[in-house]
């Protein structure tokens, strides 16, 4: 039997880097990672694009590298979305079961879902995800209410929406490389599935993806997404604060952060001196470790404080029994987990990508892009099992792919 494969790509256009992973989905149920490309982002601030050409140059370079390494033509793209413009709201609806025997029908389910998603958005906003919460039938939680008996059916949706123009910009960057965006995925949703397991999602877990320009979070409970959000603070802000606070250049601040940075205050560090460049060359000078820690700690404290404020009463040790998992490139910063625990009041840990991921992609900065491919695999699987037609394909596309081989 001839295997039916589709080449997809996960693309994350971040503030510091653009990462592209190319995967081959075979028969809709297995994924082979066949290409990887990365480039330094330009023209992107806090997840938003402010210079289309520069952002395109960087993104296209990464896609080109990944596609070349894969030796195959990308057929569809799953694009990560982040940025301060992304917001969400929760809306619930309920219907009375229409059948005389009180058995829930598919029409009842459709009616309640459409009502829950019907809330209109302000102008210039567009929906990215409608994330459904579990159904409630006469107050009891059910996964699928069809054929169950009850009087009142309720459901709630967490709707994620973003600025239409900003979403269009990121999509058009991909389109500029003659690629079609199959789906937009919230960065936190993509990275969340990579670092949190099913048990943790059932017990309640908060995944915080600390990026360079912004931080995304997702809260799971009972195996469902309860809340997502973005705060416009990331590792880049720590670098910026160090640069201003210690009166050093930005590149020096970045190097210093990576070499000696700590986000927790430690009394042992009082009076400890560190060298700015560490090469003892002209211009190298001593700085206070304690001062560095204080600056970083203040910014991280602010970051987790913002997350805590956004989550409000949803955040408690009882509701988030599995704790907090940190991911993203800036999660590697020493003391981040301790700082999160201190601010959020819940045990925290730095996450890990799954064991099957190759060494090159073990870094937490690749959680999102790995999650995009994972989402693509599930999406293709659902399409095949649901009998949905593929957007494109057919003989002509297959024939053009012949020229990609070798």
């Amino acid at each position: 039997m001839i295997a039916n494969s589709k080449i997809i790509a996960g693309i994350e256009i971040g503030t510091s880097k653009t990462a592209v992973l190319v995967g081959e989905i075979v028969n809709g149920n297995s994924l082979n990672i066949i290409g990887f490309g990365e480039s330094h982002s330009r023209g992107v601030i806090k997840g938003g694009i402010f210079d289309f050409k520069q952002a395109s140059d960087a993104a296209h370079a990464a896609i080109h590298t990944a596609e070349k390494q894969a030796g195959a033509h990308i057929e569809g793209v799953y694009l990560a979305q982040t940025g301060a413009h992304i917001e969400g709201f929760y809306n619930e609806a309920s219907v009375t079961v229409s059948a005389s025997d009180n058995l829930v029908s598919s029409q009842d389910i459709r009616r309640v879902c459409e009502s829950a998603k019907a809330k209109s958005l302000p102008g210039g906003r567009t929906v990215i995800h409608h994330i459904r919460r579990p159904f409630r039938l006469d107050g009891r939680m059910v996964a699928d209410p069809e054929y169950l008996e009850g009087g009142k059916l309720e459901v709630g949706y967490w709707t994620v929406h973003g600025d239409l123009n900003k979403l269009s910009d990121s999509i058009h960057i991909v389109n500029g490389f003659s690629l079609h965006v199959d789906d937009l995925i919230l960065s936190s949703l993509a990275s969340g599935v990579m670092v949190a397991g099913d048990d943790e999602m059932r017990n309640g877990v908060l995944v915080i993806d600390v990026g360079c320009g912004s931080t995304d979070f997702v809260l799971y409970r009972d195996g469902y997404v309860v809340r997502t959000g973005t705060v416009p603070v990331g590792g880049d802000h720590i670098t910026n604060d160090l640069s201003l606070g210690l009166r050093i250049r930005r590149d020096q601040a970045e190097a210093l952060k990576l070499r000696c940075g700590k986000t927790m205050l430690d009394s042992a560090d009082k009076g400890k001196k560190i060298w700015l460049n560490g090469d003892l060359a002209i211009g190298d000078r001593e700085l206070s470790q304690h001062a560095l820690n204080q600056i970083a700690h203040a910014r991280v404290e602010e970051l987790f404080g913002l997350v805590k404020k956004k989550l409000g009463e949803l955040l408690s040790p009882q509701k988030v029994a599995a704790g907090v998992i940190l991911t993203g490139g800036s999660a590697r910063f020493p003391g981040m987990a301790e700082a999160a625990e201190e601010v959020l009041g819940i045990q925290a840990q730095v996450g890990e990508n799954p064991a099957w991921v190759t060494e090159q992609l073990k870094g937490l900065e690749y959680s999102t892009v790995l999650g995009l491919l994972n989402y693509g695999l599930k999406n293709e699987n659902e399409n095949r099992s649901g009998g949905r037609k593929r957007r494109a394909g057919g003989l002509f596309r297959k024939m053009t792919q012949i020229f990609d081989k070798g």
Partner: protein, 296 residues
């Protein structure tokens, strides 16, 4: 993934309403390179498909044209020439009368199998081949039987009929033979004619008789010319009555040797025994011959 239940709203309120194909500005070097590559590849595949399609169409047309040519070359023109070819004596007029084709009949409408069967029903014709010669010619080729004896019989109405017997024993009424040829043939006797269909049943056991007569005609024509009757009553002995000898008896073996002995006897009689007439020459006795004689 844990975005379980993620649903997409219909285009317009969802991000899917963003038109992706409308904005494909190739701003980067890599995008331009890829676009060119895609265009070249698409053109190459289109050309390849067009070539394959053209070849398939050409092949289809060729087959279709070919079949049209075959059918269009055959016009339904009437038969204008009927050519009769035979290795015997049957005249063309007899054939034309027998097949009796309607005027202006298209060549393709002529039933050549029926004509063949009809001609072969006359037993003088051993085999007939009827063929169309496009555009307007019908050709009839015949292979005839050669008569070796004649037979006088009466038909069912009591009329006298002169029949001929061919080498294979077939009995038929001859067409086209000249009288002198027919007069040179000996009569056959001692056989029983049986009717079959519109004619007579083939006579069995005529092969040695045909061999003897053929050999005599070619090797001893003088002797043969005097033979008047061949009796097949006592086959395999063949009894012949000639002008000079009342009965010559041949046995069914080595006719050449028997003919030589007969010739020697006839020569001896003519040279040495003037006035003496052989009543009977029995050549079936081997090297000896029983030759009773009588004086005139």
């Amino acid at each position: 993934m844990s975005a379980k239940g993620t649903k997409k709203k219909k285009a317009g309120s969802s991000w899917r309403g963003i038109r992706q194909s409308a904005r494909q500005v190739k701003v980067s070097r890599f995008a331009k390179q890829r676009y060119l590559k895609l265009v070249c590849r698409t053109v190459a595949v289109a050309v390849l498909l067009a070539a394959l399609g053209g070849a398939a169409w050409g092949a289809f047309r060729l087959i279709e044209e070919g079949s049209k040519k075959i059918t269009s070359i055959i016009p339904s023109s009437p038969v204008e020439i009927i050519e009769v070819v035979t290795d015997g004596v049957i005249p063309e007029e007899w054939v034309l009368n027998r097949i009796d084709l309607p005027d202006e009949i298209p060549l393709m409408e002529v039933d050549i199998h029926a004509i063949k069967n009809d001609i072969e029903r006359h037993r003088q014709v051993r085999r007939a081949v009827v063929s169309r010669r496009l555009p307007n010619k019908l050709q009839i080729q015949m292979e005839e039987r050669m008569p070796m004896m004649r037979l006088a019989a009466r038909d069912t109405e009591g009329r006298r009929a002169n029949l001929l017997v061919a080498e294979d024993g077939m009995v038929y009424q001859g067409v086209g033979y000249n009288r002198s040829f027919l007069a040179s043939l000996p009569y056959i006797s001692g056989v029983q004619l049986r009717r079959e269909g519109g004619g007579f049943r083939r006579l069995e056991g005529m092969e040695p008789v045909a061999e003897l007569l053929g050999l005599a005609r070619s090797e001893a024509p003088d002797t043969y010319s005097s033979w008047k009757e061949v009796s097949c009553r006592d086959l395999p002995l063949i009894r012949i009555r000639s002008d000079e000898i009342s009965e010559i008896v041949f046995r069914n073996e080595d006719f050449s040797e028997q003919l030589k002995r007969l010739q020697s006897l006839v020569l001896y009689q003519r040279r040495e025994m003037s006035g003496i007439h052989y009543d009977r020459v029995d050549l079936s006795l081997g090297r000896d011959a029983d030759v009773p004689v009588s004086a005139h």
